[in-house]
Symmetry: C2
Subunit: 217 residues, 2 copies
């Protein structure tokens, strides 16, 4: 699947950050990765460089790379941009979703079921799919890429937000509003609904415990 060895490392690190195995602040030591993957330093370093410009890793001279930490403000800033981008995506996607609403409605149904069963991991996964579906339906590769990039940087936060409160229910109500607007072909409303949805999540992040943004050494 991954073309080069560099891709393999990039994908592995990305996935590890997403699922929380690599916590923000963790330093990535070249030697660990050369050892784990059996690749050379060149390859590992090239992978690191790729991840630096996506914003997933930071880098300090002579200290190597580490998983980006986020201050509360930074997290909120990301949500702002994300709201804007996904709002645009919802607006642009409306036309296509209206034409073929089946997949979207089906996903909506699955989300409802997951809430019913209080299956949080499933809900989280379906939630990701939901947003991805809309981002893709917008038919704009740059928009899609930007959305996915930001989504990756805050994925770990999102999960915690969902866990914290029983925000799941509110969240799912939002989904319905978005889907309704899109199926009705009301692009403007879909956009507003999406923006509101994400800004609501932003609010939750703002109230999140300090621990999540600890800036220990």
């Amino acid at each position: 699947m991954a073309g080069s060895n560099v891709d393999t490392v990039v994908d592995a690190i990305t996935e590890a950050v997403r699922n929380g195995r690599l916590v923000p602040g963790t330093r990535l030591v070249e030697a660990d990765y050369t050892h784990d993957f059996g690749f050379s330093r060149s390859t590992v370093r090239e992978a690191f460089q790729r991840l630096i410009s996506t914003g997933l890793l930071t880098f300090e001279r002579h200290r190597g790379v580490s998983v980006c930490k986020l201050t509360r403000k930074q997290a909120v800033d990301i949500y702002r941009v994300r709201a804007n981008l996904e709002g645009l995506a919802a607006r642009l996607a409306t036309e296509q979703i209206k034409r073929a609403p089946e997949i979207c409605l089906e996903l909506q149904q699955k989300l409802d079921d997951a809430v019913e069963k209080s299956d949080l991991p499933l809900f989280s996964q379906l939630n990701t799919e939901f947003h991805a579906l809309i981002a893709k339906a917008a038919d704009n590769e740059y928009l899609l890429q930007a959305i996915q990039q930001f989504e990756t940087s805050i994925f770990w936060l999102q999960f915690r937000v969902l866990v914290g409160q029983n925000a799941v229910f509110t969240t799912n109500d939002d989904h319905r509003l978005i889907v309704d607007a899109m199926v009705a072909g009301d692009a403007k409303r879909a956009e507003r609904a999406m923006v509101d949805h994400i800004m609501k999540a932003s609010k939750l992040v703002q109230e999140l415990d300090d621990d999540y943004f600890k800036i220990d050494k």
Copy 2:
């Protein structure tokens, strides 16, 4: 200025793409860069990797990297995203610009002068500064970075758009509308004005000659 050698190469390539010395489609051969900069392959390759994930360079296995080409649709897609992002920036920047409008008004004046003197290069540079000023005033590092990334990918196009028509004048009228709204503290209006402004540029790109999007190998 640039910390590492990698940074040096990254900056040089970025600048070369911006000012059109590196045309879309150009292949970047490692050997050329090791030779020109006197750096080793490792360093040059790391720089390439960094630029791949910003979207400035594409990469094909065993064929190396080349400057990203844009189809007409891709260019228009970028403008869509950019319009939204810069619109958001204008909205967020309004508060600060309203508090200290001097710099902005001064820039506006310089732009007017450049138009008066028909000094296109100067206008282009000031135009870039204008958009950068607003993006920075929004006080959101992620927004800023995203805007700058997209701006870099289409900079060469923008210049051609300006040259083509005497679109400079219309463009500058737009600027005034944006500044007026911000100085008046009307964030919503500033956002709309900015979106309109950029979507207008997008229209010009759509009408641009096919040559600019030629996909010769």
